[in-house]
Structure formats: C-alpha cells, structure tokens
C-alpha cells in the first residue's frame, strides 16, 4: 500500500487528536490522584534540605 498525503492527514486528524487528548487526561489523573499528594509535597520540600553526601 502506498502511503499518500491523504493517509497522513487522516491519521493526524484522528489518531493524533485522540492520543493527545488521552495523554492529557492521563497526566491530569496522575497529577491529581489523592494518594500522590503527599509524595509530591515531600519531593518539593526535600530538595531544600542542605545535605551534601549520598545516602548509603
């Protein structure tokens, strides 16, 4: 099958649209998932601690 311009347009207008919307929804669910809240807050706070050696 030859891939023609029309195929690429159809792909962009269907699959491209839906996977980007699905991705956005997935990211929002992950970001606002209630049990992630504590983990994110700890991550933001922890880098501020002055600590300059690796954990063993």
């Amino acid at each position: 099958m030859d891939i023609e311009h029309g195929h690429m347009v159809a792909l962009a207008k269907s699959f491209g649209l839906f996977y980007l919307i699905a991705l956005s929804i997935g990211v929002l669910i992950y970001t606002f998932w209630p049990s992630n809240k504590k983990r994110f807050e700890r991550a933001a706070r922890d880098i501020i601690q002055d600590e300059d050696t690796p954990w063993r």
Binding site: T31, I48, T53
Partner: protein, 549 residues
C-alpha cells in the same frame, strides 16, 4: 582528575584515547587537502594530549572506597569553567557579527571572517558551548543531589564532558574553513554528528544508571526535564542529520531529505532544539536552583508535572510555524500554529510557578542578585514564550518573518531567559561546589546583573523597532500598486538600530567577563583549611539529615 579514576577506568581511558587518536590519524590521512584532514589533525592532537594527561597520573594511588561517600563533582566544576569560557568567546563573536552588520568592512576581506561563517560560530559557541556545558555540569550536580546517589563511575562523566567539547571545537573550526551542512543549529558535518551521537548516548546512560541506583524513590521534576532534554535532542539530532558523505575522506555530505521535506525536518529539529535544548534543560535548572536558592519549595509541584508533559508533547508539533506561506501544505502550517498557541499554557504555568515560588520572598530577590538573575529569567521566559506563540500565528508571521523581530525574539529568549537562568544557577552552585561561604564578590554579581539586564533590554528593543519597521516597509505599496520602498531603503532605516543592538551585546559581553572573573576569584581564593580538608563527613547509614556544609 586521573588520580580519581580506578585502575580499570584508567585502562579504559587509555584504550578510548588510543582508538580516538588512530581515528584522528586515519582522518588526517584520508582527508589530505580537505578540511576533513584538518579535523583529523585536531582529533588526533586532542586525543594524544589527553593520553599524556592520563599517563602523568596513571601510577597515582587508586582512590579508596571512601570516595563513594561523596558526590562526584569534578566534572561539574570543570564544565562550569568551560561553559563560561565558551560564553565569553560566543558573546565576543556575536558582538563582532552585530558590528559587522552595521559596518560591513569589519570582515577585513578574509573569507573565514565573513558573516556566513562567523555567525554559526556565535550561535554554536553560545547554544552548544555555553548552554550545553552548563547543562551537562548542572545536570550532574542536580542528578546526584535529587537521587541521593553518586554518579555510577568516574570515567563516563569525563568522556561526556570532554567528548562534547571536542564536538564543539570540530563544529566551530569547521565553519571557519567553510564546512557546513547549511542547516541552522545543525551546521556541523556528518563525522562530527556521529561523534556527538556516541557522546550523547553515554550521557543518557549516565542518567539512567544513576537513576537506577537512586536512594530517593521519587524522581524530582528537574530530572524529568533534564532527561527530556537528553532524549529528545538525541532523537532530533539523529533524524535531522541523516546524510550521505560524498566519500569517507571528505567533509561534505548530502542530506537524506530534499525540498520541503528537508525544510520540515530541519524546522522540526530547529524548533525542538529551542524546546528541548534551550527550554527543557534550563527548566531543569530553574526547578532545582530557584527553590534551593530561595529556600522555599516550588509553589506547586503538581503544576510543574502538568507543564512538563504539556511542554514535551506540545512542542514536538510546533516546528512548522517556521514555514508559514511556503510550499509546506497549509494544514501542516495550521497544525504548527495551533500547537504554538497552545504552548502558552504550559510555558506560563512554569513561569508563573517560578514567580509564585518567590512570592513572599521578595526581600531576598531585592538583596540577592543571584536570585534576581533567576527571577528576571522567569519573567523573560514568560515574555518570550508569549511573543513566540503570537509570532507563530500566520498573519502575524506575515509581518514578522524574515525581519529582525525574529532576531529580537530569539535573543529575548537566549539572553533574557537562557543566559540569565544559567548565570543565576552558576552563581548559586559555584560556592556549593567549591565549598565556599559565598561568591568572591556580591557587588560584582550585582554589576553583572545590571550589565546583562540593560544589554538584553537595549538589544531586544532595538530589534523590535528594527523588525517592525522592516516588516512595514516591505509591505507598503504606493498608489500605483508597487512597493513604496526598495530593500536598500529598509537597510538604511536599520542602521541606528544595528548600532544600538551592538552596544547592547557589548554590555552583555562585558557582564560575562565580570562573571568569569568573579567565578575564577571564588575558586582561587580558597580558605586554606577548606582546601586542605574535605568538609563532607560520610553519611551514617540510613541517616536522613546531615549538618550543612
């Protein structure tokens, strides 16, 4: 440097350098009478010089196991100094180009100093030399601190840093000899591109290997940005540089792509170079150094995640806005335009997140020029992303494209955002890395800040004026329906703006010199006891909180 490598790593280093010098000598033999041979000589000379460095430290005692209780920062230290050297070179050449546009005689009748050759020297020195080295240096620093793990070995970070700089030197010397692929921001020819792939894959492997050994389960958002930078740049670089050399002993190659496909591939690369090299990586810097310097956690960690995925997935589609009103199909242009406008959301989310982090700490911004560098960088990031989205709209682009407005926009981003966040991050990280109380001189940071800010403002305002004047002159018709101004008329109108632009660039260049002096003096004027003893105590097993440095 060599004394920190294990015996096995020293053997590997010798092996790599011998192989590299043989490659260089082969290139020298195969490319006689061509720039390819000159590059062979440079590769061989660099490799042989490094062989001597390795030999001189080859029989030094091996580092003990206690090295594993510390982070490995020497590649970061070297990277920061190299980055500032490239900054001064790139800004000097950039300002020369600026004066050259006002006074064309400044080529001095030499082929190597013509605009077409020294302009890519400027862009490559700044983007890859200054920006790239700063990204590599800070990414190693941030990666280790946020994963609480040491880099996986001592050799590969040096391979990445020095190999990357070899690429930059090959690229820049090539332009002066007329070697170019004629692809903007991807001018270096095929052999340099292959070498960069090797270096870059090693860089990504360091990231993955350190992450695999991380002690902190959550991967801090700055690392996501750095990884997006490394991964996307690898992909862009490989695809855009697919080419066939005319022979294995010649610098010249032909691209796999032609016509509008070539243009689209180039600007898919070109715009994502802005997105992932000049934005994602530097956002990694912003998300670590700004909260750290301000002593406050990022305003919203959730917002930083949303902007991350927004930026990575939307930017990929924006490149076609560089090709409005060309042979590119209309729907592809519209696609690029739409995604460019959508990009405003994640971009302003990041800029807003940075500024909201500082909300409540404005007294620190007032007193601390380092933090002020980062604050102004966030403002310029917000401004230039708004401007970029606006200019990507097709009718606006009809006025702005091919004019100095584009140059103004690029420099609002490169000077106002990229360079200022880099200077701010460097001023923050230098005292931490070299275990100093503070930078050598706070007043010199202050001086650098005002030189950089005034230079940027003069530059950007000159180019806005010049660009819009050009755009309007080129589209003004008289009563008979022909163009009212000739091209030379518009050139004459540009003259004062070109001089103003060169003065702005000069101020920015002077600022970088002040910055380099300050960094150098911070390194040199070590407190004697700090130089003698390692202040970092090994962490007790399982200890979470250590006394500060």
């Amino acid at each position: 440097m060599v004394s920190q490598l294990t015996m096995n790593e020293r053997r590997w280093a010798m092996g790599i350098l011998i192989a590299l010098s043989l490659i260089g000598l082969t290139m020298l033999g195969a490319g006689r009478g061509d720039a390819f041979g000159v590059h062979g000589a440079i590769v061989a000379a660099a490799a042989i010089a490094m062989i001597f460095v390795v030999i001189s430290g080859y029989f030094a005692p091996e580092p003990g196991e206690e090295r594993l209780t510390r982070y490995y920062d020497d590649p970061s230290k070297a990277g920061i100094v190299i980055s500032m050297v490239w900054a001064m070179l790139g800004l000097f050449v950039g300002d020369w180009v600026a004066w050259l546009l006002a006074y064309p005689n400044l080529t001095f009748d030499a082929p190597w100093s013509s605009l077409g050759r020294i302009r890519p020297v400027h862009t490559t020195s700044i983007i890859f030399g200054f920006g790239g080295n700063a990204l590599i240096a800070t990414s190693f620093h941030v990666l280790q601190r946020t994963t609480r793990a040491r880099l996986p070995d001592q050799l590969s970070p040096w391979f990445v840093l020095l190999g990357y700089n070899l690429f930059c030197v090959i690229a820049v010397t090539g332009y002066l000899m007329g070697v170019t692929q004629s692809k903007e921001y991807a001018e270096a020819e095929w052999y340099a591109d292959i070498w960069l792939v090797v270096v870059w894959v090693t860089y990504f492997a360091i990231y993955l290997r350190t992450l695999a050994r991380r002690k902190e389960p959550h991967i801090y958002v700055a690392n996501w940005y750095y990884m997006a930078f490394i991964l996307a740049v690898a992909m862009l670089h490989i695809v855009n540089n697919l080419a066939v050399p005319i022979s294995l002993g010649h610098a010249k190659s032909y691209s796999l792509f032609s016509g509008v496909q070539d243009a689209m591939t180039q600007w898919w690369y070109g715009h994502n170079a802005v997105a992932f090299f000049l934005t994602a990586g530097f956002l990694g810097m912003l998300y670590y150094y700004l909260p750290k310097r301000a002593g406050r956690p990022i305003f919203s960690y959730r917002l930083s995640i949303i902007s991350f995925w927004g930026i990575t997935f939307i930017y990929m589609w924006a490149g076609s806005h560089h090709l409005h009103y060309t042979a590119l199909p209309q729907w592809v242009q519209t696609l690029g335009m739409t995604f460019s406008v959508m990009l405003l959301v994640p971009s302003w989310a990041s800029a807003g997140n940075a500024l909201m982090t500082l909300n409540g700490a404005w007294h620190k911004v007032r007193d601390d020029a380092t933090l002020r560098f980062m604050m102004v960088a966030a403002i310029f990031y917000g401004l230039s992303t708004f401007e970029g989205s606006f200019m990507a709209i097709r009718p606006v682009n009809a006025l702005s494209h091919y004019t100095d407005w584009t140059i103004g926009h690029v420099h609002a981003g490169a000077m106002g955002w990229v360079a200022l966040i880099t200077f701010g991050s460097i001023y923050a990280v230098v005292p931490w890395l070299w275990k100093r109380e503070a930078m050598y001189s706070a007043r010199l940071i202050e001086l650098h800040f005002w030189l950089a800010l005034s230079g940027t403002l003069i530059y950007v305002f000159a180019m806005w004026n010049s660009g819009i004047t050009q755009g309007l002159m080129w589209r003004t018709y008289n009563e008979s329906g022909t163009l009212a101004y000739s091209f030379v008329d518009s050139l004459v109108a540009m003259y004062p703006y070109y001089i103003a632009r060169a003065i702005g660039g000069l101020l920015f260049f002077l600022g970088a010199i002040v910055g380099f002096y300050n960094i150098w003096m911070t390194i040199r004027t070590a407190p004697a006891e700090a130089r003698a003893s390692e202040p970092d105590a090994p962490a007790l097993s399982g200890a979470r909180v250590q006394p500060g440095e």
